[in-house]
């Protein structure tokens, strides 16, 4: 009997632990309009009333960057139209004469990680681009496996390998800045994908950026969803600059619109969780009129949640992955796919060769960031490619396609 009562006591204590964890949450969510019932003393006050349920603006939001990207979305890119990976927008050219040397060349690459399908496709693009150029005698790539400390030591190690150019795709912006700054005096450095907080690299290559991605999808929903429609926004996780910018641009668009953002949820990029979250919202609100996503990897799971609930799929955005494009085509969705093109992995190699030949390159190499719409969907839907392949790879004419990318011809 004694042991029973102790056990009961222990479990009661556990219940207190678990419930207090749940209870302490109830005074936090000023950001979600869904939990509007319990709001007592709200410090956020008047700002919350006008935000259409989108919460406070991200602290990563920079108005000047936002404005620049919005302008670039409309700008005409320079360069060959059939090779967007060679195109530039708003190029401020810099001289590279002092780096000129004769081949053969030794290119080095410090890669943040190869831990997701986007980076997988990208790395294959880069390797294939290297294979196109006979003057590249050696290409050394080190994978930092998503660890800042490993990438710092990778960059140091590569400096001792006689690299003619060092290409860096930084794992995180702030932490890698000193390592890149340390390498700049010794070797011409090219940074791409994520940035660093120094202008010492010869060129920084990136697509237009996260604001353009988020705005493209949000404007599509504003256009397609009737006024007052309920929007569910799905984000992978908070605190990552490239994802925060996507959401903050969408927030700007939604705040200006008549749409009602009923929820902003994090999915960890997990399909099962995405499907559960969407199912919950369909149950809670009866109907969701539009879905905004900051990345397309779980878009198919979101679509399936509507199918399984027996509801028509509302306007939604995904990305350029094959599984989503196939679903879009098969189920005749009202959809759009902004992209963060993987063809940007070809550009650093092209830039490296330009630098070594003494040709001018842009200080910031802004690549165009195309969007897949109903009109050009069939161009990017490629039967035979794996479901997680990114269509905007610019890899169709590279040697080894489609087998090297996991597809069948």
């Amino acid at each position: 009997m004694n042991s029973y009562s102790r056990r009961l006591l222990a479990c009661a204590a556990l219940a207190v632990v678990t419930l207090s964890a749940a209870a302490c949450t109830s005074d936090k969510p000023a950001t979600s309009s869904a939990s509007a019932g319990s709001g007592s003393a709200e410090p956020a006050g008047s700002a919350a009333a006008k935000d259409a349920g989108t919460g406070d603006q991200s602290k990563f939001f920079v108005q000047a960057d936002y404005d620049a990207q919005m302008a670039m979305r409309k700008a005409q890119a320079d360069g060959p139209a059939d090779k967007p990976w060679e195109q530039t927008i708003d190029a401020q050219l810099v001289d590279t004469g002092k780096y000129k040397k004769s081949g053969p060349y030794n290119l080095c690459f410090s890669n943040a990680a190869v831990n997701n399908p986007w980076r997988q496709v990208g790395l294959k693009n880069m390797q294939a681009e290297v294979a196109l150029h006979k003057e590249i005698a050696k290409f050394t790539a080190l994978d930092a496996e998503g660890k800042d400390d490993k990438q710092i030591s990778d960059i140091a190690e590569l400096q001792g390998k006689g690299c003619d150019v060092l290409i860096v795709s930084p794992n995180t912006t702030a932490t890698l800045t000193p390592a890149v700054a340390g390498a700049c005096p010794k070797v011409p450095v090219i940074v791409f994908d994520r940035g660093v907080q120094t202008d010492c690299p010869v060129t920084f290559i990136k697509p237009i950026g996260g604001y353009a991605f988020g705005a493209e999808a949000a404007e599509f929903l504003v256009d397609k969803v009737p006024a007052g429609g309920k929007i569910l926004a799905l984000r992978i996780l908070p605190g990552v600059d490239v994802l925060e910018t996507r959401w903050s641009a969408a927030k700007v668009a939604f705040d200006k619109s008549d749409l009602d953002v009923v929820g902003v949820e994090f999915t960890d990029g997990d399909a099962a969780k995405t499907k559960s979250v969407v199912s919950d919202y369909i149950q809670r609100f009866g109907k969701i009129d539009g879905v905004w996503m900051d990345a397309g990897a779980t878009a198919v799971a979101a679509v399936e949640a509507f199918e399984d609930a027996g509801q028509p799929v509302p306007p939604i955005n995904g990305e350029d992955q094959q599984d989503f494009l196939k679903k879009w085509s098969d189920s005749k969705l009202t959809a759009i796919a902004p992209t963060y093109p993987t063809y940007q992995w070809r550009t650093p190699i092209i830039a490296a060769l330009k630098i070594l030949k003494g040709e001018q390159v842009p200080k910031v190499w802004n690549l165009p960031q195309p969007t897949i719409t109903q009109d050009n969907l069939t161009t990017y839907l490629k039967p035979g490619m794996p479901p997680l392949h990114y269509a905007m790879c610019g890899c169709e004419n590279l040697p080894g396609y489609p087998e090297k990318w996991g597809g069948t011809s």
Binding site: L14, L19, A21, T25, K28, P238, A272, Q283, R284
Partner: protein, 310 residues
């Protein structure tokens, strides 16, 4: 029954809390959807219970789930005919991984924490090498049906869960269950009274592997191919079992309570989500539960602990 009561009280309180926030939750479709979502974790918890109550750990189930889903997609590749042979293969594979875990732990005397941690790393590394991070192929509609579809109003996963739960409860009441608990309580005493300890523990690992295979079939069916599908499931399963009042180190606890623990964990996550708290808090909550439960367990039985370590 007495033992299992407290966790059911906690579960009931959580369900009421969810219903207060979302009254629709208690209607049959919503509640069935909740059970359907919880089913894979509940099944994993039943498997993990078998291992834990026999005095071991199984950390490999999460990456085993991922491996099974990725392998299924690659082998099925959208073809309906391949579905059932591949389902059978997945079950065999789950049992096989459990067998290896069990044999290495019992015969080679590698602590199960290390064996299964090694298995976790081997499986996730092998998957990464094989897929290059991007799974290929596709699951067929027939395969998806088990995790996605339903028989009338009742999802298949709920029916499968009922069968698994009944089988688990029956097995624990039968001789096998008593032997399993005896091995976890005191393996030397069990051995002296004629129990083949190594064999019983190996079977426990195989049950856990089988549970992972079933969970993989349901999870793959629910949400499709993903290389992240099993991420963190091993810790969720262990947390669920601990939450159900099962003693780490073995020998005490009921399988029904372990499964209720899984429901409780899922309900807690649902509640956190309802209150707008992001997934970032979930691991923290799990950590608090594990430490609190083990600490309370240590307070509960100080004499037994001393005896076990000597």
């Amino acid at each position: 029954m007495r033992r299992t009561l407290p966790i059911f009280v906690v579960l009931a309180v959580l369900l009421v809390a969810i219903a207060v926030a979302n009254p629709y939750f208690l209607e049959p479709p919503a509640f069935l959807a909740f059970v359907k979502r919880a089913a894979p974790l509940v099944i994993l918890a039943a498997g993990q219970y078998a291992v834990i109550v026999s005095g071991e750990f199984d950390l490999s189930v999460g990456s085993l789930v991922t491996a099974e889903v990725v392998i299924a997609a690659r082998l099925i590749d959208g073809s309906a005919e391949a579905t059932w042979p591949v389902v059978a293969l997945l079950i065999v594979l789950g049992l096989l991984v459990g067998l290896v875990n069990g044999v290495v732990t019992t015969l080679l005397r590698v602590p199960s924490f290390i064996t299964t941690l090694g298995m976790l790393l081997i499986l996730s590394g092998a998957i990464f090498l094989w897929t290059g991070g991007a799974p290929r192929g596709a699951l067929s509609e027939e395969f998806r049906e088990l995790g996605r579809g339903s028989l009338g109003p009742v999802p298949w996963s709920v029916l499968i869960l009922v069968v698994v739960a009944a089988a688990a409860a029956y097995a624990m009441r039968a001789r096998f269950g008593h032997t399993l608990v005896a091995v976890g309580d005191n393996d030397r005493a069990a051995a002296l009274s004629g129990v083949r300890v190594a064999r019983v523990r190996t079977v426990a690992f195989m049950i856990s592997g089988l549970a992972a295979a079933v969970a993989a079939i349901l999870l793959g069916g629910f949400a499709g191919v993903s290389a992240q599908v099993g991420k963190g499931l091993e810790f969720q399963a262990i947390t669920a079992v601990v939450l159900g009042g099962v003693a780490l180190g073995g020998g005490r606890g009921s399988v029904v309570a372990a499964m209720a623990g899984a429901f409780t964990l899922e309900a807690l996550f649902t509640l956190l989500n309802l209150y707008g708290i992001s997934g970032a808090l979930e691991p923290a909550v799990q950590g608090v539960i594990i430490i609190a439960a083990v600490a309370l367990g240590a307070v509960r039985f100080p004499r037994r602990r001393v005896a076990a370590t000597s």
